[in-house]
Symmetry: C2
Subunit: 126 residues, 2 copies
Amino acid sequence: MATASPDGVPYVVPLSLAWIEGRVVLALPAATRTARNLAATSKARLGVGPTRDVVLIDADLDRLLAVDEDEAATIGAGYAAQADWDPRTAPAGQVYAVLRPQRIQAWREVDEQEGRTLMRAGAWLT
Amino acid sequence: MATASPDGVPYVVPLSLAWIEGRVVLALPAATRTARNLAATSKARLGVGPTRDVVLIDADLDRLLAVDEDEAATIGAGYAAQADWDPRTAPAGQVYAVLRPQRIQAWREVDEQEGRTLMRAGAWLT
């Protein structure tokens, strides 16, 4: 999960994610550089999978939602079912970053560089 | 390899890398967003390894060096020996991004968050 500060310093950390109702959701502590960057710029780029067969997702922040808010119940259940940990039982201060995917690319090696874009401006290409 | 534009839009792509004379070297086409971001901000953050056992490197751009420059001969040999491809035989327009590591962290899971910094301000911690 890559983010950047408003003045262009990149940051990237490994995080679990879930797909819930057309959104990419990550749970993370509110007091992290990733959460602060997201709040400031609303922009993320995610790499999913191994180096030679990665899916790259450009996404905009929809909202940051505290794990213990009532609204977060559906997200919490979906997240725990898909990811390998449950933010609802984690130490306090976790938030869900709910991201709206804008562009999705399947990025293997040079031979796949053509036709690698699967979603553009939030719409799946067919 | 994560970079960002000067106004904070993150970018991340999978790339091979080599360690050469205390520098992290990546070969990539000059006409890519990663190369343009690097030229503009001089800042990169790299993740090496799988999600649950990743090494994260914050690095500053030392220089961008065209693959066919005389100066690049030593780098080219070292790169080809370590990475899984040889930029010297790739299509024209490749450059080496020579990066100076500033901070290195070993990032596994929550239990390793303490003591995870291995290099600070370019110096190995012992």
